[in-house]
Amino acid sequence: MSDLAAFQKSLANRRALLKGMGAAAIGISFGGLAGCDSKSESGAKIAGTGEEPKLNFYNWDTYIGETSLDDFKGASGIDVNMSLFATNDELFAKLRAGNPGFDVIVPSNDFVERMVKSDMLIPLDHSKIPNFKNAGETFKDVAYDPGRAHSMPYTWLVLGIGYRKSKVKPAPDSWKVIFDSDQYKGRIALLSEAGDLFRLSAKYLGHSVNNMPPAMIKQIEAMLIKQKPFVKSFHEDNGQDLLLSGEVDLVLEYNGDIAQIMKEDDDIGFVLPKEGSQLNSDNLCIPKGAPHPENAHAFINYLLGAEAGKKITETILYPTPNDAAKALMSDDYRNNPAIFPTAAQLAKCEYAAYNDKLQPLYEEAFTRVRAA
């Protein structure tokens, strides 16, 4: 029974499943857009924003409240047509050759940076997004998008170690247990993202996640090659399933993913190692060439509202950057140390800046680690 539940859960994993079904997902989203276009020709109604009442939203799977889109339609009369992507790479690849008709997209912080550099995003008009005031102080101005010129905070995450309390004693407090130790031989799963692995290893070695010198990449490569025999697998962001099914006892995963399985199994814990970690954040943006920019502003403003933010958070259980929504949430959520680490812990965490020179170096070093 638990097997079946875990299997169904692994199917529901938003990234792993859609990643494999990339082709199918593309089919769905193009189909959706085509249908939307043909309808728009006959639709003569005008929304309060002065545009036709349509909006094309490109989002991650299971990343919106159950009724959010209907609620928005009720409030504004605008029909939201949502299509799904599975990875930032997929999002970037689709917009690379020109916007196929999306109004609002949800890229992660490094991709916001990358898309701004590639001139793919519209600057936001803050006067049309009054709910931005709900955002927490740390999210009002961020290094990856100074002054929030192009993006609005939607969720944030931090990488840490998920572990099985009964099998891992004492509770880990350092990256050492998964990057540089044979103590839990064969019971570790690491994320198969070259960039994240190398940046967190640098953090373990006392360096920032940014501006890594090439000599350090070599050093980390050697460390990971030495660690590899003790690692059971490099997982595709499904570490929570491996931990829940008892396949491994320690995983490198995002706090939101571990928080979801902590609800199902009391024996699961999450720590943010003492060396600090890497922050990630998903953001609402409007791509260049969006057919309904006014509706897009109205939609973003709606999602940043207190009540709408609460409904989204209740469904997806990720940490919310929306203070007004957080205030409406249950104590269970607000006081969960996995979802909200302490300020002192967070102070040691950083966003990784996008660096197009280093990324290929990480990838090649990781290819060497896997081939060794």
Partner: protein
């Protein structure tokens, strides 16, 4: 039969649509990727096709050649196992009664109705430490141990789950599972056309079953075996989902490396060069094979 040369216009009319389809959706995009392999990244979204061979030079470094070699041996082993398992299956279907044959063929094709990813996840549920395979084996082990104790022998040591997942064994197992139908169907097609009286003659004239299969069935089914081998080997060589999801820390195949170039590394020119090396290797293999067949025929 009429020769197409006498009916040129009819032939042209029939072939125009598929040819146009192939060139617009296959040849041209592939040509663009081929051009990328001689380019380099400028900025984040632009590729400058400068005619450089640097990507190929990098792809021929020992690191990548070793991954190529590993992928080829994994694909070859997969093909061999598929052939060994698939041949008796195809033979059994050929000799089944006409009433049973469609059902057996359906059973072979049934997995195709499910998405590869779903099948892979199902296989993971079977093979993992707490999975069905290990649970069943553990149950048998415990019962055997109990039985031994009952008969007065020392019981077996406690059951340790087998490491069935996240290693190279799992990758080969997964690839064989996925590609078996590709082997069985062409084999069946070849064996079905075989003149059964030849087999009867061979058996009548005193050859054993093994000798009959070796000297009569196998040579006559050779074209089917060959197409089965190629049709299994080529997709197995390009597999990336199975090693990704079922492999261990050292199970990466060349397609995983290529995928990462197009996605995370954002290095399309290098990814294009790696893909085309893989294609050149496949082409050469098929060309060599067809040359050999021609020589034998002529």
């Amino acid at each position: 039969m009429q020769d197409w040369k006498q009916q040129r216009s009819v032939f042209a009319a029939i072939s125009a649509v598929p040819l146009a389809w192939l060139s617009v959706f296959f040849v041209i995009p592939l040509g663009v990727v081929w051009l990328y392999s001689f380019g380099r990244n400028v900025g984040l979204t632009e590729i400058d096709i400068s005619g450089t061979f640097a990507n190929y030079a990098r792809a021929l470094e020992p690191l990548y050649l070793e991954i190529f070699a590993k992928s080829i041996s994994v694909a070859a082993l997969t093909t061999l196992i598929c052939l060994i398992v698939g041949f008796p299956v195809a033979l059994a279907i050929t000799f089944a009664t006409p009433k049973w044959r469609p059902w057996l063929l359906l059973a072979i094709m049934l997995p195709f109705w499910t998405n590869l990813l779903i099948r892979t996840y199902a296989l993971i549920a079977v093979l993992r430490t707490e999975g069905y395979a290990n649970k069943s084996l553990g149950w048998l082990w415990d019962n055997a141990s109990g039985l031994k104790a009952l008969l007065g022998f020392a019981p077996l040591s406690t059951w340790e789950p087998l490491p069935l997942l996240y290693n190279n064994f799992a990758v080969i197992f997964g690839l064989v599972y996925v590609h078996l139908p590709f082997m069985v169907l062409p084999l069946y097609a070849a064996l079905d056309r075989l003149d059964k009286s030849l087999i009867e003659a061979s058996l009548d004239l005193g050859a054993g079953h093994w000798r009959t299969i070796n000297q009569i069935v196998a040579p006559l089914a050779a074209p089917g075996i060959l197409s089965g081998v190629i049709i299994t080997f080529v997709p197995a060589l390009g597999a990336y989902l199975t090693p990704d999801l079922m492999g261990g820390t050292d199970s990466q195949m060349i397609a995983n490396v290529i995928e990462r170039q197009f996605k995370r590394a954002n290095d399309w020119p290098f990814g294009a060069a790696l893909s085309f090396l893989l294609m050149y290797a496949t082409f050469i293999l098929i060309a060599l094979q067809s040359m050999r067949t021609k020589k034998e025929a002529g």
